[in-house]
């Protein structure tokens, strides 16, 4: 059965049960990952997952069931199961779910691309990565050089009882390399262009080629080796400069999640947590300095969080979350927007046919101002430049955060100086954003894909993105060690 037929069967069956609303998503996702290390291919894996999920509103409550079995009888059983589940939900209900009045979708979307990564010969992709690893191996003292490539192709057919439909193909790719340097109980790493398997985009294999992994591998590996002899970043209160990939993750953790309306309304309370932000804060909360404007835009060209329609069936669009430092918006879906009498801004996404849509970031981006990394460094008399994320942690209301990065440089008199290893920094969200006194300009701005955003139960992993340029923050705690 074609995906569209599968979705229509499930939608029609739900309609026969007399539910208040139903939508069905039939999805097929193909994925591929390639790992090389030095001159060895460590793993090539390909997978396909296909199925249909049906979500119903009955008695004012939700039920959802999904099956990988395309047999007509199994699909009918899944719909019955969803209806039974909704009836059970209604027995523990405080108020009925109210969806917003978003217009039903009708259309198609395909991620613009030149070369579908699944059509590129495997040998070509493997050779590309082996070349990057070989280039990195030229660095004296490097222990291992690894390179990776990932690709996903998701086809979705959405059909709803409101008459909504869309057929969508989203292509996403990623590539990166990292060098490990090991000596006397110390392990240091540097990654290019980002950690955790590199940079991710919405597009084709050409995006991986454009990263020029081989051309950047030697410098990356050389810096990893240099870190072995660098001192730890001392503790202190310092002016902090974050390069754009680290600032992108800062946006993710301390703005993106904090402005998800389902978290604000308590729907994630027991697992990932809530938010310090309240609905009433909109238009009143000074979230950051006047340089901080943050938008959520599912139409950003070539980004990992770009799509045509979300999994509620809402067309992709743009909304502003923070304008010149002031909180002005939230990330919403049809349910949460309905709860506050508004219309969704289209951020509902499920990570599979077998999971329900949740509010997920699309491309949540700090808008550019002026300057670039070098000009901001040159304008800094005494500070620390932190490069490339290593780990992250934040409390369950998104207030207190602590990040570790791969490397740091002292900035003295506008010049890069001492290299430091194991750098960390910490703070509280609004204090930190309030201390922002420089954000780089359009030429310094880049959209960074993040493929591993966890949320929800059962756990879902979303692929999102964040645009950011270099940022500078005053009076930040650095060098928090054990």
């Amino acid at each position: 059965m074609e995906l569209a037929e599968l979705a229509e069967l499930a939608r029609d069956e739900a309609q026969r049960h007399g539910v208040e609303y139903a939508d069905a998503r039939a999805v097929q996702e193909d994925s591929e990952s390639i790992d090389v290390r030095d001159d060895t291919v460590q793993g090539v894996g390909r997978a396909t997952s296909r199925g249909v999920g049906v979500r119903v509103l009955a008695g004012g409550s939700w039920g959802f069931a999904a099956t990988s079995d395309a047999d007509e009888g199994q699909v009918r059983r899944a719909v019955e199961r969803a209806v039974d589940i909704a009836r059970a939900s209604a027995t523990v209900q405080r108020e009925r779910v109210t969806l917003d009045d978003s217009p039903p979708p009708s259309g198609t979307y395909t991620t613009p691309h030149e070369r579908d990564p699944f059509d590129v010969p495997l040998a070509e992709k493997v050779d590309h990565l082996l070349a990057a690893a070989a280039a990195g191996r030229e660095a004296a003292g490097v222990s291992y050089v690894e390179a990776t490539a990932d690709a996903w192709r998701r086809r979705t057919a959405f059909r709803s009882t409101e008459g909504g439909w869309f057929d969508q193909t989203v292509l996403q790719v990623g590539g990166g390399m990292r060098a490990l340097a090991i000596k006397a109980g110390d392990v240091q790493r540097r990654s290019y262009p980002n950690s955790f398997r590199g940079q991710y985009t919405g597009g084709g294999w050409e995006d991986v080629v454009a990263l020029d992994l081989a051309g950047n591998a030697l410098a990356t590996a050389t810096e990893a080796v240099a870190l072995l002899d660098a001192p730890d970043l001392p503790a202190g209160q310092r002016t902090l400069i974050l390069e754009s990939s680290q600032l992108a993750l800062q946006v993710h953790e301390s703005v993106g999640h904090a402005t998800e309306l389902d978290r604000i309304l308590g729907m994630e309370r027991a697992y990932a947590g809530t938010s310090f932000v309240e609905v009433a804060d909109r238009g009143h909360l000074q979230y950051g300095s006047p340089l901080v404007t943050i938008t959520a835009d599912a139409t950003t060209q070539g980004a990992m969080g770009t799509f045509g329609y979300d999994d509620d069936g809402v067309a992709a669009g743009e909304t502003t979350l923070i304008q010149d430092g002031l909180l002005v918006g939230f990330l919403t879906n049809r349910e949460s927007a309905g709860a506050i009498g508004e219309r969704s801004n289209g951020t509902a996404r499920a990570d599979s046919w077998s999971t329900i849509p949740l509010i997920r970031m699309n491309n949540v981006s700090l808008q550019p101002r002026e300057g670039d990394l070098e000009s901001i460094v040159a304008d800094t008399d005494d500070g620390i430049l932190l490069l490339t994320n290593k780990s992250w942690s934040i409390d369950d209301r998104r207030v207190n955060f602590q990040f570790a990065c791969e490397a740091a440089y002292e900035i003295r008199g506008g010049q890069r100086g001492q290299l430091y290893k194991n750098p960390t920094y910490a703070g509280r969200t609004t204090d930190f954003w309030g201390s922002c006194d420089a954000v780089g300009g359009r030429d310094d701005w880049r959209v960074w894909g993040i493929p591993n955003c966890g949320k929800g139960q059962p756990g879902q992993v979303a692929r999102v993105a964040h645009g950011a340029a270099t940022g500078r923050f005053r009076g930040v705690t650095t060098g928090v060690g054990a």
Binding site: G43, R46, S68, V92, G185, R269, S391, D395, R397, A482
Partner: protein, 448 residues
């Protein structure tokens, strides 16, 4: 995905074990039928069920060229197509020098449990459990959490004659009780849904809400702590992730590289990885078909455990330990069933033995700071309390810790007599006791 059963599953596996062009073939089939009822602010707001399957086929051609293709379409035609695609992939992939062959047949131990009542639990039964928990909460306290039930099959077969089949069930219940300015948490996991005492969980979470009202600030610094079992589980889970991987140990990337056999923490600390135990049941074999066995990781404070899959065991000249993960897996194995020995101190005595310190119910969003010194950072949540002169004097606002795990386990004062199974945000579950430590580093605080 309808449950396959032993005979049908193995018969399905057989269809690809002699794929044309492959020297050797391994197939791992999983099926799962699970449901999760989620509630927040004392109403069910998300309620889902899914049935799915997966077949992951690894083929070997020309001795060491590997191809892996997975599909969730478990028809014979689909599996044959996937196996053929894996052969095509392997043919254009350079040989893998770390390939150590597929597993050989061996007897499997008993592991895991299957409970029909858990497998067939209805949405009405799950909703009833939620309602029963909510009835235990006092006025003004709201409940959030999840009630999850499910059954899963794991089948591993290969062209060496390995044939493994496992059918297990799992139930998990979580409640987070929320008051005006405090929260409390309780959780339980079992193979049998009926064994979970949901009223007890609700009362325990509610008691923490009451105890934590009007939280006070305490300054960051070093404190004595009582870590309740869920908080201890975070330390144990991260230690398992950081330290025992055979590949990382061999490459000097583990904090235990060169330290196996050394005393690394207090001699009262014993942690084993044990998928065969009743307290944290797993399956009898790993994803390569190697039999599971009890593996001491830290034995009386001495680092002993090195975890291997087939490839890392071969490279190290060791026996595989039953920690193979789904292919392709360049990382090697990790302990997935950590169980820490209990002590003999009651919870009340753990607290009473602290002149000034903190009780931590659980941690949130913990992550690694520096794996080589086992330092991690995370936040307290859902019940953090100040103790003075052995008595709880009230709740405190949440704190961030940044702490070496091994240093923490070296400052052990006492271990609780009771153990619980707890889930960690990034990992599976661990079965751990409460512990009292003389020093734990809290490095900052938050606003609630």
């Amino acid at each position: 995905m309808t449950r396959l059963g032993n005979d049908r599953a193995l018969s399905l596996a057989e269809t690809v074990l002699h794929t044309d062009g492959a020297d050797a073939v391994e197939i791992v089939i999983t099926t799962s039928d699970s449901a999760l009822t989620r509630y927040a602010d004392s109403r069910i707001h998300q309620n889902t069920a899914r049935d799915d399957g997966d077949a992951r086929i690894r083929v070997v051609v020309d001795g060491a060229r590997i191809g892996v293709v997975a599909t969730n379409d478990l028809s014979v035609e689909s599996l044959r197509a996937a196996a053929a695609a894996a052969v095509e992939s392997a043919r254009v992939t350079p040989p893998d020098p770390t390939y150590a062959g597929l597993a050989q047949p061996a007897p499997y131990p008993d592991a895991g449990h299957y409970d029909p009542g858990t497998a067939e639990c209805s949405p009405a039964e799950r909703a009833d459990r939620v309602a029963r928990m909510l009835r235990e909460l006092p006025s003004g306290v709201l409940g959030s959490g999840a009630v999850e039930t499910g059954a899963s099959e794991l089948i591993v077969a290969n062209s060496n004659g390995v044939r493994g089949y496992s059918l297990t069930t799992r139930a998990n219940t979580v409640i987070l009780a929320s008051g005006d300015d405090s929260t409390g948490y309780a959780e339980d996991t079992s193979s049998r849904f009926g064994d979970i005492d949901v009223e007890r969980l609700a009362r325990r979470a509610a008691a923490k809400v009451e105890l934590g009202r009007n939280p006070r600030d305490v300054p960051p610094g070093d404190y004595a702590v009582v870590l309740e079992p869920a908080a201890t589980a975070t330390l144990v889970e991260f230690m398992c992730y950081i330290a025992f991987n055979g590949k990382e140990i061999a490459e000097d990337r583990s904090p235990l590289s060169g330290r196996i056999g050394e005393q690394v923490c207090d001699p009262r600390v014993t942690i084993v990885d044990d998928a065969l135990s009743d307290v944290l049941p797993g399956v009898p074999f790993d994803f390569e078909g190697v039999a599971k066995r009890r593996l001491p990781l830290i034995d009386k404070g001495v680092a002993t455990g090195v975890v291997h899959d087939l490839a890392t065991a071969h490279a190290a000249g060791a026996e595989p330990t039953g920690h193979g993960l789904p292919a392709p897996n360049p990382e090697g194995g990790f302990p997935l069933h950590p169980v820490m020995d209990a002590g003999d101190t009651s919870y009340d005595d753990l607290v009473a033995g602290m002149s000034r310190g903190l009780i931590v119910t659980r941690f949130h969003y913990t992550n690694i700071v520096n794996p080589m010194d086992t330092s991690i950072t995370g936040m307290t949540r859902d019940g953090t309390f100040l103790v003075e002169d052995g008595k709880v004097v009230g709740g405190v606002r949440n704190m961030r810790f940044t702490q070496s795990i091994l240093e923490a386990l070296s400052s052990l004062e006492a271990i609780g007599a009771e153990r619980e199974t707890s889930s960690e945000l990034f990992f599976g579950a661990a079965h751990t006791p409460a512990v009292r430590l003389s020093r734990f580093a809290f490095t900052s605080s938050t606003s609630f």
